[in-house]
Structures are given as C-alpha cells and as structure tokens.
C-alpha cells in the first residue's frame, strides 16, 4: 500500500530523499514503500 501521507507531503514541498526516509521511519513504514508512493 503506498504511503499516502508521504505522497501528500511531497505535494506541499520539495522534500529530499532523506526527508522522505525520516518521515517513513516516523510512521513506521518501510522507506521503500514510501519511495514507491511518489
């Protein structure tokens, strides 16, 4: 399941890979699924 949270946040600002990885970690979702969502 794509991480809609990260998909949404990347629509609000230009996030780096590290930003996305930190968000994914905070949500308890694997970084790979977070990356796949955008």
């Amino acid at each position: 399941m794509p991480n809609a949270f990260i998909a949404k946040l990347t629509g609000h600002a230009n996030l780096s890979d590290q930003d996305i990885a930190l968000l994914a970690d905070a949500c308890g979702t694997p970084p790979r699924s977070a990356r796949d969502s955008i």
């Binding site: 809609a4 949270f5 946040l9 629509g11 609000h12 230009n14 996030l15 949500c27 308890g28 979702t29």
Partner: protein, 214 residues
C-alpha cells in the same frame, strides 16, 4: 510509537477534553473531526483521508477542543510529539511541508464555513463531493472518475448540516440529473464539469501548486 496500528471503525483516537496526544497520521482509511453538542447532535468539521494528519500543533494547547474518530477500518501511525518536533527542527523542508498542509486544512475549513453559511443543500453536497474528489485524486485514489467514498448519508448530513433524508433527496437529484451518484460505497462522477458548476467549485483553497508543477 513507531508502528502503525490497525484500528476499527467508529473509534475515538482522541476526545474533546483530552490532553493532546501524539501526531496521528492516517495511512489508510477515513476519520473525522467532530464536536458533540449539548443536546447530543454531532457536527463533523473535517474529513481525514489517507495521508492526512490530525492536528499538527495541538501539543501547545492544554486540551483538545474537539474529538477525532475513525469512520472506517484504518491504519494509523502515531508519531510521538517530541520526535515530531525534532523532525521539524532538523528538517526545514519538512517544516515547510507541514505548514503548507496546515494552511490547506484551514482553507478547507473556510470553504466548509462558506458552504454552511451561503450554499443551498444541492450546492453544499456538490461542493463537498468536488472537494473529496480532488483530494482523493491528489493521493491516487481516483480510478476512472470514481473512488471509494465510505461515508453514510448520516455522516454526510453531520458534515453538511443536513438531515440524512435531505442528503438522500439531494443525492437522488444529482443522480437523476446525470451529474454524479453514490453507488456501492463509491462516488461515481458522471460529469465533473457540471458538478463543479452546480457547486460553484474553485479548487484554489486546496493549493495544489506543487502537484500541478510536477
């Protein structure tokens, strides 16, 4: 907590009067913000879809002034406040993204106030459907002009200030006019241009600038 939890429908994540808790993030499923009036009726003040957060900055308040409950089975992450605040401190672009998200939430709230105050029932329903459609499309939930909309007519009524019977009449009219229909838990948009015209819908308050540019 760094693990998302599966939570059943109609479960209060946090209640009015509670001390603010962690930052809840809707990973899957729907929730709503609501208030219960003294006579027991409910006013829903926001729908939270996958990707939405619950109250970014409430931690500086003493207590919640509204409740948040799931509407469907949901997968919810709970980010501890200290971890969230550290994230914002360390990562300026994340801070900007959350600010932007908060401003969009406030824009949605203003749009709902306008609807409740100045739109008739048909316009009100149509406007909400346009908004939910655009928001769902933004996170990839729309498939060929339809998406899962797991909201009962009672829930819609509580958000729109209408009775379920009134919501039913309006939905029937929009269906007979060939504009949209709610079918099997899905919103099917038959004619998005007409739906937007009925609602007087302008998506500027959703501030989708970055997504458009991408």
């Amino acid at each position: 907590m760094r693990h998302a939890a599966e939570i059943g429908p109609r479960f209060d994540l946090i209640r009015e009067g509670d001390a603010p808790g962690p930052l809840f993030v809707m990973l899957e499923g729907w929730a709503c913000r609501y208030k219960i009036l003294p006579e027991g009726t409910r006013q829903i003040t926001a729908f939270l879809m996958p990707g939405d957060c619950c109250d970014l900055y409430t931690s500086i308040l003493d207590e919640m002034d509204h409740s948040i409950a799931t509407l469907t089975p949901a997968l919810v992450a709970a980010i501890p406040r200290p971890a969230f605040e550290q994230l914002l401190f360390d990562r300026p672009m994340l801070l900007r993204a959350f600010w932007h998200m908060q401003l969009v939430d406030e824009g949605i709230l203003r749009a709902w106030i306008v609807s409740m105050g100045r739109r008739n029932s048909v316009q009100r329903v149509a406007h909400l459907m346009c908004e939910l459609y655009v928001r769902a499309r933004g996170i990839g939930l729309v498939n060929d002009q339809h998406f899962a909309l797991p909201l009962t007519q009672t829930v819609l009524g509580d958000a729109l200030g209408l009775t379920p019977i009134h919501v039913n009449r309006v939905l029937r009219r929009l269906r007979l006019d060939g504009v949209m229909q709610l079918r099997g838990g899905a919103l099917v948009i038959e004619d998005i241009s007409r739906l937007a015209a009925v609602a007087g819908f302008d998506d500027n308050y959703l501030h989708r600038r970055l997504r458009r540019a991408a």
